[in-house]
Structures are given as structure tokens and as C-alpha cells.
Symmetry: C2
Subunit: 356 residues, 2 copies
């Protein structure tokens, strides 16, 4: 049985979208129970409309909801311990839920998640991983916006965590991992990226299959299972791809409504266009996964609808069922055990001294 | 009359594509004369097929061609003074041409252009500007790969140069300029980007209209005329957009050939699909412009066809006709004159001391 904690108040539409979304997810995963956190006045009547959900969930009344435009520091000050966002995260910490899903504002969610769950022992900074639709299926891209800039060790950590997530999500043994870089000969990429490449190669990891550098156009091709980059570039790449998809959909819409013949053609080919629409549906790949924390946090798009929120729950379900946190912890331990000589030996001591 | 220098040997297909491309461009711009640089054995027979072009051009025989996979340093060592690439650039330096167009390898072209033309007095590092198709028309995005990382002063220089290019290309008075950044609240962007924003605002430039920060999805929307970023992120954004466009075209192709009805619909809506194809045609916006050098250098995609190479010449033609180099020089002078108090005054001296 998987237990999922839900922040009912997150997102642009709050419980109106989140509650039907949770109900949809329950239809798909009857083995789930939910722990719900909401402001009673906004949720009660809505919840009453979903008796099946009510039967499989516990509702916790909270004092306040973090708003979508609140700054992380402000959200923490105002909403720590008492907001639906905080308490839904806390349920994971307390072992009452296996994963938390929120459509609330990203900055506040990350700040609260870091504060409440803390980062894993060897992880300095968490990452947000996105699921990226490709010509081959799906890839994982991280970091798409948790941190700006990353040194080579952090990029290596991202590679390990992304690899663990790929194993949990795609159920493959040894996912391929690439480092995002530029191909122009003259400027052979950022020093940290090159150094990370050397380090990953030398680490000889058996949990991932290091591919080497990939470029921006490899994202859509699905060249590798996991693409690693720092948060500034990852966020810009993600939004550029989303923007390009919307731009082309708009071109297509305009072209198809220009002549009667085109309109007729559109009607005949409707099944094909529906298929395309499904392929491009951003709701289908909704759900950024926070990696590197002591617990699984899923961020749904704030502007999504019930179907999209249900998809974010799907991601959380898969991550919990396949033991994402445990996988990441094991992979990190394996790497660090390899990196440091056995504890207590002279080599160990000098290695530790060197680290300081 | 515009004089355009052409490296006939650049690109994946060399003169076979370049010469027909030049001939196409001549049809469109009868006021152009060409200075051609090629290896005789590869070009002579082809050129004979275009008598109109022969009449409006001078052919210079060269000893060697830079290959597409040569490293910049190697290309410089082997090809300086004698390659078609070098000599076509040199024609601009010598005042024999107003602009040079090459489909040769980017790294080598940039290295030779820097070595031969030198950067403008106040410019530390050149940029490559791309023309980006948007829902509103076109924007300019720079840097898409000349340099990795840029400090705030370099980003400001990019804004000035991109603005000058927008005035030359779009013939508008005061283009809007945005700095590419990430929107996630918690991580307010790179320090250099924020600092550049402050500096541009304070400089109160009358040659550009500073918009503020833009995000990845603003590229396709056409939110601003000029988007400024450093070369690593710009290159990844550009290739991500190209990759996404190809990915969606592939989805569409697959969907349209899945059923008989869809195929029939495709035939009826063919004019609409042709329009879409034209919108997405990468040849139409072919031509990266090197900015910040004492002369205009246009880089055509190496893999393009004659139509695409002609489009790169179109860009060069517009840039030369509208005096891009002069515009950039003027704008830079204006900014620097404003920045420093009149020479020799006390304020000037203390400003200079402060700078040291």
C-alpha cells in the first residue's frame, strides 16, 4: 500500500482542481491511501462529492495556505508548522506518507522541503528533475531550477540521483547518462562540466552507463535516459522547449483554419491531430521530482487541471512504489564507499585530512 | 552597391551548394557584386554554369580549404593567409568587401575572424547572434556559442550590439531588449545577469528599450526584439528549440501516415502543411552574425542547401546595406562617452583611478 500526502491548497485553482485530480488518481491506483491537508472551508463541500476518496483518505484541517506569489522566505515565516504545504511535507518526515504532491509555488515548496526533510547526508544541494518527452519515449532532465550553477561534484551527484530515478521510473538496470554541453569546437564547454565528465568516467559506476556529452537537440531525440545540467541552463532549456511546442501548435492551428480545404482536411485527419495533441500534452509529463532530500516531494505545475494533477500523483506513486529514496541513498553510499578508503586506515585519515 | 565576399569551400557540401546559393542570392539582389575564394579544381566547372554570377564576381584561387572537423588552432596554423576561409575574411579587412559569408566550421571561422579582423576597441569578446523565428516575427538571440560565461559588462555589450543589429535587420528605432533568466522565485538568477540588468537600466540607453528579464518560453513568443544571454545557455537554448521543432515535425509525420483517413486529410490540407513547413524551415533563418569584430562575418549552417546559403547571404546583405558595423560602433561610443566623464576633468581622473 502506498500512502500519498497531498497539499490540497496548492496551484492556481487550489482544491477545485486538486481534489478531482486526487479522485482520478485513486481510480487508477486503488492500492493508495491519501493524507490530505486543506483549509476546511475551501475543501469540505468538494470532498463530500467524492465519497470513494473520502473513504480512502484522512483529512487534516490546517490554518493557512501558502499563496502562489509568496516569496520562499515569507512562506517559511508565515506558514511553517501550520500551512497545508508544510504539514503535507511533514507527513513524509513523520513516516505517515511515502510521498507528498503539491501544486504550490516552487520556491516555497523547495524551501519548506529542504527545511523540513533536510538534504541527504552527502548531498549539498537538491535538484528538480523533469520528465522530458522524447522521440524514443521519455528522459529525465535535471536540474531544471533548484540551484543556479553547480560544481563538478554536484553534477556527479545529479548524475547518480537522476540515474536512480530513471531506474525507479523506467525500470531499467543501468540507465544511460549524458552531461549537457555545447558542441562548438572552439569553446569546449564549461570547466565544471568537463571535470564532471572526467570524474564520472573515473568513478566507474555500475549504477549508470555514462554516455558523455550531449547537446540541446539530444533532449528531444532521447539520446540518453538522463540528461544532467545545472539549474539555470536546465530551466531555460525546459521553458524553451515548452515555448517552442506552443509556438508550433499555434502555427499549426493558424495554418489549418486558413482555407476550407485545410479545415476539411483537419476534420478527416482528426484522429491524427488528437494523437499529436496527446503527444504534446504537457499534463502527461506533469510532475517535477525533488531529488536529494530525505523523502520524495513531487511538484505539479501550478496551472494544471485535474488530469495533470493526477499525472503528478502517478509520478509520485511510481517513485514511492519503486523506492526512489532508498535507491538514491544506496547509489550515493556505493559511490562514496568506493571513493574513500575503508574507515580508520591511514589512507582514510589522510584522505579526510585532504578533504578539510 | 554591396560587395560580398564568399568562402566557396565551406559547409558539408562545399562549392556544390555554395555556388548555386550565391547565384540565387544574386537573382534577388542585382546590386551585389561578389568576391569569391575557392580551390580552382573544385569550382571552375561549377562557376561556368552560372554566367550571370561570373559576370558579377571576381574569383580568387586559393591553395587550400579548411575542413569541417579541423580544430580552430589547427585551422589557423594550416590555413592562415592561404585558405579560402582566411582570404574571404581578409577581403573585408582590406576593404574589398562589405561582408563575408562562410558555411565553414564555426570554431575555425571565429578564430580566423578574430585574428584577422580583431575585436572592436571596447569589446572584449565577440558574440554570435542568431535570428529566431517567433509568433510575432523574428527576434535576435545572442550569444549562441562564441563564448562561455559572460560578466555583466559583456552582457551589456551584447545588449548594445544586439540592439544595433535589430535596428539594422528589422529597421526599427529602439528595439526592446531582454536578459534571459529563470523565473523560479527562490533562485533569482545569476548574479552577473542581475548586475547586467542594473547596469543597463542605469545607463539609460536611447538606442535600446530595456525590457527586463525574460524566460525560455519568451523566445518563441517574441516578447522582445533582442534576447541577451551568455554563449553556453544560448547555444543550448537554440539547439533545444531546433530539436523540439524536429521532434514535433516527426510526431506530426507519424500521426498523419497512420490511417487512410489521416492521409486523405493530409492531402486536402496540403497547402496548410506547406505553410507550416515554411514556417519551420530552418533554412529561412540561416545565418549567424558575428558581432563585435571590425567587419561583418556571417556564418551559414554547414549542412544547409543552396536556398539556405542564399538566405545567409540575404542576412549579410541587410547587415551591410544598413551599416551594422557603423551602428554598433556608434552605439558603443555613445554608451562609453556617457559612462566616463569628459577626459581630463577631475571626475574623469578619479573615475579612471577607480577603474584601476
Amino acid at each position: 500500500m502506498i500512502r500519498i500526502s497531498i497539499d490540497l491548497m496548492g496551484g492556481d485553482f487550489g482544491p477545485e482542481v486538486v481534489i478531482p485530480g486526487v479522485a482520478k488518481a485513486l481510480d487508477r491506483h486503488p492500492d493508495v491511501t491519501f493524507v490530505l491537508f486543506g483549509v476546511k472551508a475551501d475543501c469540505q463541500a468538494l470532498l463530500d462529492q467524492y465519497p470513494k476518496l473520502k473513504a480512502k483518505s484522512v483529512f487534516h484541517e490546517c490554518e493557512l495556505a501558502v499563496s502562489m506569489d509568496e516569496k520562499p522566505s515569507q512562506a517559511l515565516r508565515r506558514g511553517r508548522y501550520i500551512s497545508t504545504m508544510w504539514r503535507s511535507i511533514e507527513a513524509v518526515k513523520a513516516g505517515e506518507a511515502d510521498v507528498v504532491v503539491s501544486a504550490g509555488n516552487t520556491g516555497a515548496l523547495m524551501a519548506m522541503a529542504k527545511f523540513c526533510l533536510r538534504t541527504m547526508a552527502s548531498i549539498e544541494r537538491p535538484a528538480i528533475a523533469a520528465i522530458w518527452p522524447t522521440l524514443k519515449g521519455e528522459s529525465i532532465v535535471l536540474d531544471v531550477g533548484a540551484t543556479i550553477g553547480a560544481d563538478s561534484q554536484q553534477l556527479l551527484d545529479f548524475a547518480l540521483m537522476g540515474g536512480a530515478m530513471a531506474r525507479a521510473l523506467f525500470e531499467i538496470d543501468r540507465p544511460t547518462v549524458g552531461l549537457l554541453n555545447v558542441g562548438v569546437e572552439e569553446i569546449k564547454g564549461q570547466e565544471e562540466v568537463r571535470e564532471a565528465g572526467r570524474m564520472i568516467r573515473e568513478a566507474n559506476l555500475d549504477t549508470i552507463d555514462y554516455f558523455g556529452f550531449v547537446e540541446g537537440n539530444d533532449l528531444g531525440k532521447g539520446t540518453v535516459d538522463v540528461v544532467v545540467t545545472e539549474g539555470y541552463t536546465g530551466n531555460i532549456a525546459l521553458k524553451t522547449a515548452e515555448g517552442t511546442a506552443r509556438q508550433i501548435a499555434e502555427y499549426l492551428r493558424a495554418a489549418m483554419s486558413r482555407t476550407w480545404l485545410a479545415k476539411l482536411g483537419y476534420v478527416l485527419a482528426k484522429s491524427a491531430f488528437d494523437l499529436l495533441r496527446e503527444k504534446l500534452d504537457p499534463r502527461k509529463v506533469n510532475g517535477g521530482v525533488f531529488l536529494g532530500l530525505n523523502g520524495i516531494v513531487i511538484k505539479s505545475h501550478g496551472g494544471t487541471d485535474a488530469e495533470g494533477f493526477a499525472a503528478a500523483i502517478d509520478v509520485g506513486y511510481d517513485m514511492a512504489r519503486n523506492g526512489l529514496t532508498q535507491k538514491i541513498e544506496n547509489d550515493l553510499k556505493k559511490y562514496h564507499a568506493k571513493r574513500l578508503p575503508p574507515a580508520g586506515t591511514e589512507a582514510d585519515i589522510s584522505a579526510r585530512v585532504e578533504e578539510i
